[in-house]
Structures are given as C-alpha cells and as structure tokens.
Amino acid sequence: MPDIHHNQENNLQVLTISGEIDASSSIDLDQAIARCLTESKNDLLIDCTALNYISSAGLGVFMSYVEEFKNRQSRMIIFGLNPRVAHTFSLLGLSDLLTVAENRTEAEKILNEA
C-alpha cells in the first residue's frame, strides 16, 4: 500500500507519495489529488522521492488531472522520480504532457518563473 501525505505550506500544497502505485492503489492517489483540488486553489507539488514503482494506472491518474489544473490556472509539478520510475515515464513519453522536475528546488524554480 502506498503512503500518501498532504501538506499545506504557505501558498503551496505538497503531496508526498511513498511505496508503490499500481492498479489496486491508484484509487488512493486519485482521491488524494481530488482532495487537493477541493481544498485549495494553490499549486500542487507531488514529491515522488520515496515512490518505488508506478504502473499505468498511476500514470493515468496524473494525466487525468492535467486539464483540470490548466483550467484552474494552477500548476501540478511532479518531482524526485527515482531512475526506475523516471524510466516508466519515459517509456510513454509523458514528459511533454506532465511537468516533471528533478527535485523540490527545481520544482519551486519552475513555479517562480511561471
């Protein structure tokens, strides 16, 4: 089971995901992002530093929120992918559609530049 924590930090929301996201646990990720959208209009950073595995079910969840964040004019930035998880993103060529940063510093830089 993945562990998903939600934090409000000043004018940011941070979702920290650890463990594995597959077809059985992607619903938890889906609900967590949905909750972020309901609770705040702030930008969302998703910390994947401790995410060890993701299958298409989890990637599909990220993709399904791209449009919603765009419509609200806020940002969803994923950061801290380990090489394995980054490879799964690259197999699908998702980097054009999702905003992925190396680490938190880079993620915040992207927000500040926007």
């Binding site: 594995e20 597959d22 077809a23 059985s24 992607s26 889906d30 595995y53 299958s55 298409s56 079910a57 990637l59 599909g60 969840v61 993709m63 399904s64 929120y65 791209v66 449009e67 919603e68 394995r84 490879h87 799964t88 197999l91 699908l92 060529g93 998702l94 559609l97």
Partner: protein
C-alpha cells in the same frame, strides 16, 4: 526452467505477482532496467485481465508461466479461461486524447507493446493463452 503461478483475480494480488516475476527472472535477466520493464509489462497484462475479463472476481484465476530456459529469450504464457482480452486488437488512445478526455486507462497496453518483443494469442485445451516474448541481451 519453467515456473508457474496461479493468481486469483483480485488487484491486491498484483504485488505478489511482481515479486514472483522478479524472483523467477533474476538469474536470466541481469539487466535491472530490462528486468523491471518485464515486471511492469506483466503487471499491466495481469491487471488488464483481472479488470476486463474477470471483473476482479477473486474466485476466478489466471495462470502465469515464465520460461527462462533459453538464455537469450524470456517466454511468458498467461493462460485464462475468461474472455481473452486481445491487446493486439485494441487501438491505444493518443496521449493527447487521454488528457482531453480525462481518461485514466489505455496507457498499459502502450507500455506492454513498447516493452515486449512479441505478443500472440492461441487456444490450448480450451483455454486462451497469451504468449509474450522478450529478447535478452
């Protein structure tokens, strides 16, 4: 060597399936990236079958067989008595459509096709078999 694993069609079993695959192919597939790609592709195949052919009914089972005899090629068979879900007949959605339609599915098949070298379906003793192969370098 051939190793078999019978899986009840509950998504909570996927973690155990991944562990079984990792352990079974560890000696044949020494490249970590290739090994984890295979784990991912087979996770996608099993979850697709559980969801689309068996509606996640835990009384239904599918059988996974991994044949690591040939050092240059991993052969996988997934045997299933449900309605085979032929991924060769499925047209993957465009990535942009996934965003526009807020669809949460369709990416798995794209992953399987990009990772595995061949995917074929046939019948044996009245059951549907999907055979997938992966060349090992």
């Amino acid at each position: 060597m051939k190793r078999r694993h019978t899986i009840a069609c509950s998504l909570s079993n996927l973690k155990g399936v991944r562990d079984f695959i990792r352990e079974s192919i560890s000696e044949q597939v020494t490249n970590n990236i290739t090994s984890e790609d295979v784990v991912l592709a087979l996770d996608e195949m099993c979850s697709n079958l559980m969801i689309h052919a068996h509606q996640c009914n835990p009384d239904h089972t599918i059988e996974l067989m991994l044949d690591t005899t040939n050092p240059n090629c991993l052969v996988v068979e997934i045997t299933d008595d449900g309605n085979a879900f032929d991924i060769n007949a499925f047209r993957e959605p465009e990535l942009n459509n996934l965003v526009n339609e807020k669809r949460k599915g369709g990416l798995g098949i794209r992953l399987v096709k990009s990772i595995m070298d061949s995917i074929e379906y046939f019948e044996r003793n009245g059951a549907k078999v999907c055979r997938l192969t992966k060349k090992i370098q």
